[in-house]
């Protein structure tokens, strides 16, 4: 729909007043610019709430499917399996959702408004950091949906609310880290579809070849070796430990290390891709 309305008169004096009323404010901080971009992403969700489908319907589907398909076979009953599985599903689902970061960026960056953003006197990574911050809100939403569904199905975390919150916080740190990898892919790939293809190729082995679904003890040695170093396994173990109040050992450290590693490696590469000419 195009808005049709009589074009209002534009007065030269009003325009000149609009030009000169204010002095230039101090240049905004990197944090300020980042949160402004995060706000932009939030506004878009508000205008098109359907964008939240992937962080609401997806997680519900995953919890239901895995619990009732595998629960009886793997742990005797769905509710017994759920205690082990739910932290894992949480980890897996949020890991999967991170790939939409790259997809959204790929679509967004080609728009004319990015010319304006790139010609502004702001901290250069703010556009991307802002997007990732906003994605944190989406990830949190997915986590809440999964927890609510899980609790309704009989998930009982012994670690209490504190353990659950800590597990989600750790998950968000990991998601923020790995999102930089998808941002890089989002900037390098020609189409949003290509971004998803690449991300899926990485995410399938990363999430399935882990301890999310089953105990790795029955896997062949070489698969076990991969599962053991897989950051998703560390994250799932840490999330289970935190939620159930059992020990987590060095797992949290491994997750933080992996997350930092993702940022250290991929943030500079992403920024280089962002600063390139297009």
């Amino acid at each position: 729909m195009i808005v049709t309305q009589p074009e209002p008169a534009i007065s030269a004096t009003a325009l000149q007043a609009a030009l000169s009323t204010r002095s230039r404010p101090a240049v905004t901080t990197g944090w300020g610019a980042s949160t402004a971009f995060a706000w932009r992403a939030m506004l878009k969700i508000r205008h098109v709430p359907m964008q939240l489908f992937d962080v609401t319907a997806f997680p519900i589907m995953f919890v239901l499917l895995y619990t009732y398909l595998f629960g009886g076979a793997l742990a005797g009953s769905p509710s017994a399996y759920l205690q082990e599985l739910l932290p894992g599903i949480l980890v897996m689902t949020v890991s999967w959702i991170t790939m939409y970061t790259g997809q959204a960026l790929n679509t967004d960056i080609s728009r004319g408004v990015f010319d304006r953003f790139r010609s502004l006197p702001i901290w250069r990574p703010a556009v991307l950091v802002g997007m990732l911050l906003a994605d944190g809100v989406r990830y949190t939403m997915a986590a809440v949906v999964i927890l609510v569904v899980g609790l309704a199905l009989g998930f009982r975390p012994d670690g209490g609310p504190v353990g659950v919150v800590l597990a989600v916080a750790l998950l968000l740190v990991f998601a923020f880290g790995i999102s930089w990898a998808w941002s890089l892919i989002g900037l390098r790939m020609p189409t949003p579809e290509a971004v998803l293809h690449v991300a899926m190729t990485v995410l399938f082995p990363l999430t399935f070849a882990s301890n999310v679904f089953v105990d790795p003890a029955t896997m062949p040695g070489w698969v076990q070796a991969f599962v053991k170093v897989n950051p998703v396994s560390h994250l799932a173990t840490a999330a289970r430990g935190l939620m159930h109040g059992t020990g987590v050992g060095s797992e949290i450290g491994w997750v933080l290390l992996w997350s930092a590693g993702f940022v250290v490696v991929f943030a500079p590469l992403t920024m280089r891709a962002y600063n390139e000419e297009r």
Binding site: A17, R40, R118
Partner: protein
Amino acid sequence: MSTRHSMSPNGSLAIETEALVKTFGDTRAVDGIDLEVQPGSVYAVLGPNGAGKTTLIRVLATLLRPDAGTARVFGHDVVHDAPAVRRAVSLTGQFASVDEELTGRENLVLLARLLGFTREEAKERAAELLEAFGLTDAADRLVQQYSGGMRRRLDIAASIVVTPQLLFLDEPTTGLDPRSRNQVWEIVRAFVAGGTTVLLTTQYLEEADELADRIAIVDHGRVIAEGTSAELKARVGAGTVRVRLADPAQRAAAEQVLASALGVAPESRPDGAVLTVPAVDPARVPIALAELHGAGIDVGEFRTGSPSLDEVFLALTGHPAEVATKETTG
């Protein structure tokens, strides 16, 4: 050039480029451009699609890195001192450089926040700009629902959230209806009165003539003519004469009369009732009309007009403006 040493208060030209080159593969989109733009002036870069206008603006706005030559904006090098350039300029791109998925108000608040206004100040600033640009009624609608003229006004408003020292307008009126185009012209004039330097690109000689203090005509990435509107007109003739004959059979005779009276041969076109003579000295126009009458040629219509960009090109280069197939390299 004598303007070289006439300096602005802070001691430098608004734009100064020397032998600026930007290539894309085999295409030399900008091929050795020298420009000097005085602070407080409106400078028009006039040329057809694909002439290199957009590339030039993108280099000056720090979005592209030049391959050779230098470009300075208020004395700041666009490569080595890009942050300083970004603090001085604002860009209104050829294609909407506003976020279509946000409302007009949200776009302006976002930019105000990015430029350092507090939340409250940003809201006030957005409201001021919406009012000044006649967008208050549409403020809370998504930009994708805006008409072309509204979108363009919002785009320009977004460029002056903080008053820039230098405003780039890339083809600000392309695709707009005459009324919206006139509004954009009014806006540009208001800016200039307020002291902002404007560099605009356009395909329309009329637009450059209306707005600009100086005009550079570019073709294939090169400046083929530069000067004030009056200087350029003197070089290409004040305008065009179009004659519609009552009887197309008199065409040959009319061509002869016009050629001798105006000193310029009419354009060779397939036979028809209309003759066009480019690059005409206005003083000779009445003579031409009188001589047509004297020769017994019935004139259905006799018009003079500004030369089109094509006619300017014809006069300057001897060939019509070649329109590139794609503007992406332009």
